[in-house]
């Protein structure tokens, strides 16, 4: 199950209404608007709770998303690139979030740095089509993955802290 914190976070993200993929011209616009609104709200929430953890931006059509995400462990901030595409069967299919930097460093990852999501994610998502959007995918998919994997990887010494200046 999703932990209490995640649940609370999810509840604070507005749900979406439009069922549309990038192929559905007008409806996609409508959907994209809702996506943005949800994302804005989510980011605002994060900032309010002092748990802001990513930066995202998209191409013009809103089909490809990229940015950075970070995790703070022992008062140190570890930062990674994040990217994903909106699949054509969206929103029935969840976007496959990838952390290319960590490709090959952990078992919980598909080729190309796509993270392995938990067993709960997919049925949860399927139940909530079309209400869940990108913001939900981030909160429900990437955030728990990072909370589990990153401290483990740091402990194993697979990833190391890089001074801000270097990035």
């Amino acid at each position: 199950m999703v932990d209490a914190n995640t649940k609370k976070t999810l509840q604070n993200i507005p749900l979406l209404q439009t069922r549309a993929s990038p192929r559905d011209k007008d409806l996609w616009v409508q959907r994209l608007k809702e996506e943005y609104q949800a994302l804005i709200k989510y980011v605002q929430n994060n900032k309010a709770s002092d748990s802001d953890w990513f930066r995202l931006e998209s191409n013009k059509e809103g089909t490809r998303w990229f940015g950075k995400c970070w995790y703070i462990h022992n008062l140190l901030k570890y930062e990674f690139d994040v990217e994903f595409d909106i699949p054509v069967t969206y929103p029935a299919t969840a976007p496959e979030i990838a952390l290319p930097e960590l490709d090959g460093k952990t078992a919980k990852m598909y080729r190309g740095g796509k993270i392995c999501l938990t067993d709960h994610f997919k049925p949860l998502w399927a139940r909530n089509v079309p209400k869940f959007g990108i913001a939900h995918a981030m909160a429900l998919g990437l955030a728990p993955w990072m909370a589990v994997e990153i401290p483990d990887l740091i402990d194993k010494g697979i990833i190391e802290y890089k001074e801000k200046g270097t990035q």
Binding site: D26, V29, Y36, I40, K47, S49, D50, S51, D52, R55
Partner: protein, 782 residues
Amino acid sequence: MNQDWDEIKRLAADFQKAQLSSTLARLSERNCVEVVSLLLEKGLIELVFTTDGKEYLTHDQLRKEIEDELLVNGRINLVEVSKILSVDLQKIQPIAEQIAAEDNKTTYILGQLLSYDYIIRIASEINERLNQNGEINISELTGAYDLPSDFLLHEVVEKNLGRIIFGKQDSSNPRLFYTPAFISRCRAKIRGALNGITRPIAVSAIISQIGMPERIFFSLTNDVSATGTMTSRSTGAIYIPHIYTKTQVEWVKSFFRQNGYLEYDSVTALGVGDTKSFIQKHLSGEKLTFLNKCVVGQRIIDQIESTLEESISTSSFLDISTILPSAISEEDIEKLIQVVLTPSKQRLTQIFSNLIVTTKYIDNLLKPVYDIADINAKNSVESGAYQKYIAEKTIKKDVDMDESVSKGGDKREERRKKAAGGKAGGGAQGRETKTKSTKKHQRGGKGKDFDDSESEEETQNITSKKKSTKDTQLTLINANDIKKEIKVTLENDGLEDLASEIANYYQMQINKYAHNKAQELYEISLQNSMQNRKQNHGALQDKLNNLLNDIRLYEKGLKMFSSVDVQIQLAKYLLKTLGTEFANEVAYYVALESDLNFASSLTPQLTNEQRNRIAVECEPTYKQTLTALNKSLNLSVEEFLIAAENMLVPCSMIAKKIDKKKDKQIILTHKQGLLDQLYKSTEPSIILHVACLVIFTIATQSMLHASGKFVLTILEFLGNGYLSDEDYSLLMKFHELVLKHFKSDSEETRNEINSKLDEIIPKAKDMAANYKKIGKANEKEE
């Protein structure tokens, strides 16, 4: 469409803006926690954590909050404070102590903080309660306020006594407080209760009746001037009103005054526990006699005594129960009798249950009975029953003695002591002792051994009598006889119920009396027979001696005859007559001495067979000699004499020694006897016979024992030198006449002869009497 895309662009820009806008200038909770913990670590601040760990308080804040709580409630429990403020109790406790220490109006006790206001409040509450109940106990308050009693007492009640709490502290129990109104109410109740009581009542009953705690009751009863006393100061006590005691005493006094006695039961029924001392106390002026069930005054005793004296003086009887109140029990009557009967009076009276009978009365009553006893005793002695009884007892004694001897000397000594005691004892035994002494005197001549054994037997009889009265006592008179005898007299006096009692009581005594009587009679008869026997023995001894002597002398006489034939015949005759007599006497004596069962049927004249039978059956001491004696009768005189002398020894007789002088004397007396006979007798044959014997005796200076048969032989012997011819022819003529006289048939010839004899007899008599030893002189001359 474009418009939409513009909007998208704008949203994307907004999104970027939102993302890029710096985060708020405030610390997140996480950071705050970290910062505070860092500060605490460095000791820069001092804080108190709440129990959930989400909040911090400064010490001042905590103290302030505790004080606030105290202000609101007046009394707070630190545990509750810790819950309300979610601060650990350990943190609160020192602060609470601090508060109490700094502020003297606040009290810290048992983990609770109390404000001054609170104390004032409970003090007024207590006052209210006190006014309501009239009485209050600190221990009750402890329960009600959940505060320690010492605190309540010293800090709350005592401090406010007279200011807020108006009451009185109990002097004996400082934890008790009363209102004066309550006290006086209780006192009034107690006074009422106690005054109303007229009989003893358990204090517990009084207390439950007036509904008052017992300690108040007990502390107040002293103040109340009660008209009674309490047995103790505990719940088990009994309150006894004076009026009750007074009525008791009055009842006891008046009852006693009226009736002269007082039953314990009735006094106990009044509720008096220790009746005796009670009576003694309240009737102290009286002379009291305490009995088992009642107490009797001097009046009743005087009455009994006077009646008793009267009955003694008139030798009648007195039934005490008739003059006593019916309430007095039998047992007490007996006791009373004991009191009344002084030893001097006791001697004069006999008690049968309630009846005091004077001894004089009884003596009169029993007089005929004693007569019967006398008769019975006599009868028993005469019939031999008593002797049998004595004999049986003696046999028993012998057995006892054998046993005791085999057991050893100790017992014998014991018995001797007992015997001595028996002798010393008064009454009947005294009499016996006396008889014994006389007996001894009478038997002085006897052998000492014999006497001793006899006396021993005697004492044993006494002891055995004492010892075995119950088992072997011969009943000479039984209770029924006595009863029958006295019943008539008693019936006249209306006392027939007592007949058997008196009979049983006196049976022993009378029986004993009868025994003594019997003993007496028996002893008298015994003495008589003993005396007889002794005399007999002596006489017999003399007689036997005389006989023997005679025989010896006669034997000498018969030796005068020259003819052996005559000698043998004379000897035979001698043995047949005198020898047989001797043997008969001895045999008879032996038969008596040996207690042969047929002895009583014998007479001194015995046949030969009887003698032999005695010889066979007599006691072994006599047997041999007696048998020899019997045999010797058929032998010669010498042998007989030896046998006879032997015979005397076992008969404890002494054969007198042959004394020549005495022999002469005997011969002289014999001659005198013969002369007397000669003068007296008128029968011619006897005269002739005696005359011959006299002449023979004088002539030979020896005695002759011969029958008439031998007259001729004697005459012939005398004629041969002892008689003058004249005398001889006279005697021969006399002899012829006598013979003729015997042989004569007709009356005539007899008369003729008689006349001739009459002539010749005086001559012959004279001749015999005047005969002097001519022959001898002649012989001498010759």
